[in-house]
Amino acid sequence: MSTERLELLLHRHFDQMLSLAERQELSTLLLSSPKAREEFWRMARWHALIRQWGESEWGRMEAQSPILRALPPPPRRTKHRESEKRTPWIPDFSWVDVPEYLKPGRWAVPLAAAAAVFMGIFLLTRFSLLQNPTPQAGVNAGLRTEIAVLSKSCEAVWADAGSVRTQGQSLNSGFIRLSEGAVQIDFARGARVVLEGPSDFELLSDNEGKLHSGRLRAYVPEPAHGFLVRTRDFNVVDLGTEFGCEVPRKGASELHVFEGKVSFELPSRPESGRHIAQNEALSVTGGKAEDIQAQPARFLDEPQLAAREKKSTVARREEWRKLHQTLSRDPSALVYLDFEKSNPWSRSVSNLAHRNLADGTASVVGCEWVPGRWPQTAALELAKPGDRIRLSVPGLFESLSLAAWIQVGSGDEGARCLVSTESDQPGEIRWVLQGDGSVTFALRTASAEDSGWRWASSPAIPMLRAAGRWHLLTTVYNGATGTVSHFVNGNQISRSSLPSDSPLRLDTFEVGNAGLRPEENLQVSLAPVLAPAPRAFGGRIDEFLILSTPLDPEEIQRLFETGSPVPPPKVRR
């Protein structure tokens, strides 16, 4: 095997261009020849070095882009560049929508900052279900400035893992590759596009996109006039309209105008420009346009997408209700509050748990009823210092699993009590969301030292403090192994040893506040766990569950996937 051939194969590997036969050829070489392996790593180092240069040079293209010149520069770029000089090997994550408290400068130690930023990214990508599973947008990112939002998503199946977008996610320029289902994209200037899978659509600016293949329907309000859709066969500029485009992988592309009019031209022939009016349509191939009949029914419209989305959400909500019926009947369920079926003036919530050992209700003190995370469901908001939910569960327990769907309110960033017992006995517990976004589980041992409190915290998860987003927090204390595991949105984020010399007890306890006890006892007993003074939760709780057995990670993942109103992203197999 010649060196040239090996080099060629390696270059093709780094460019993701190997055919299956070439991959096998390269694999054989790498397995049989130490020299080939040496050459692999030699070239790999240069490949990685150039990628690192590429990652740290993001701003350059943005500055050169005429499309983006008019937009304000991405925030934090300059600031990050300064820190980059100090720590040049820390990857550039500055384009991510990092919360205020994660910005450089708020962190004294560069490594801690990098770890925190990394954690932030990690959460933005991994834990979000929620909002931003692939902010890197990697392969097809293009220029990384937000130019649109994915406002609706219905049964979307994405072409590959790198293409996944979730509802509510901000979009940069780059490709939207949808295999099935439908999504709505709201451009920053106001144009809205309903895209049906399979489609390959490229966002080019805040008022321009290219449909490489697939089908879209565009709505263009007044401020977005001039919205441009390019296809391989024609360009269409809106003049106050609603129109549809269809580009099959092979064959003629079509343009249908449903309202108003558009300006149409063939890509390389500006002289071909003409207006197409309402209820007119064209079929275009090989530079020739033919009139055809407009067919609005072929293109999914906004109300249809909204109806499909609603149907899908209702189906998911029913799945969630089934799961929670199962959970409430679980023999190990001690507390299950779903906050449903409550009148706005109701001051109590039924404990639906099978082993409802006390008087069957949780007392609601203060608090406001607010919409829950699902349509037509309710949650409780604890905003004032005196807001609390009080319960009583007698008994001693070897293990406990605590789960709550929470949405943190805006305001200060102090430590917030999620659960606080008040017996002052060995075995009592605290479950706390700390100011930095870490989660702490504390238990009181019989030891005289530090009032007997021992605790285990997760790493800081700043996203948890971001207001307005629902998260599922789960903490499992396994008495058999003496360990505490913290989970956020179904993902395990830590597991720590925390042996206890006493069985756990709840007795009378509070959800969302620090328990009622003499002030001096409160300060002393909580000092190691909560500093400064403990506070009411300061946010919304939609669901709350305590089990007397340790939930396993698969069960917690299921709890999250079924309980999340945003379905987990699907990728084509």
Binding site: H47, R51, W89, V139, S494, R495, S496
Partner: protein, 177 residues
């Protein structure tokens, strides 16, 4: 005494992770060609390292520990999301990893020289390098954007990599002299 080692141990492990991150990313970029997938694998690795922080013994070889996790995560990610033509099999990965030296991946000087060397590329070659390494496009997409064939893009990228390597090495040599 607090019986839980977590806060200190966790911050020790996180600190070490960040220290090793550049080399780890380089390592993963070598075996996982897809830039986006690399980010996923780094995140997965971080998750596992974090979850297993308590198992790491202070003073032991962090690099070996974290690379074992990363290799496993890379293999998992590749099996899950990459077609066979885009991934190495487990035995190839193991052979490669066994051969990977622990020397530092890059120096600050190399990166500094690389910045200068990029300027020496022809405008078109530079555009192709930027599309690949800044914007993470694959050669077919780059070909579409610059109006070349995919093979021409591949040739341009291969040449650029060689040119950049020679240029940086030359500058390093000159600096040493």
């Amino acid at each position: 005494m607090n019986p839980t080692p977590d806060p200190e141990q966790t911050s020790l492990v996180q600190g070490l992770f960040v220290q090793h991150l550049p080399a780890l990313r380089g390592f993963l970029l070598s075996i996982v060609s897809d830039f986006t997938l690399v980010d996923d694998v780094v995140q997965e690795t971080f998750l596992t390292v974090n979850a297993k922080a308590a198992q790491f013994e202070k003073g032991s070889n962090f690099r070996a520990w974290v690379y074992t996790i990363a290799r496993f995560k890379a293999l998992q990610a590749l099996q899950k999301s990459s077609p066979p033509a885009e991934r190495f099999s487990q035995d190839v990965l193991e052979a490669l990893c066994a051969h990977e030296s622990s020397e530092d991946w890059h120096s600050e000087a190399q990166m500094r020289h690389l910045f200068d060397c990029i300027q020496t590329l022809t405008p078109k070659a530079r555009e192709v390098v930027e599309l690949r390494y800044q914007q993470a496009h694959r050669p077919p997409e780059i070909a579409r954007r610059v109006g070349w064939s995919v093979d021409s893009v591949h040739v341009a990228l291969s040449r650029a990599r060689n040119l950049l390597r020679d240029c940086v090495l030359q500058k390093m040599e000159a600096e040493r002299a």
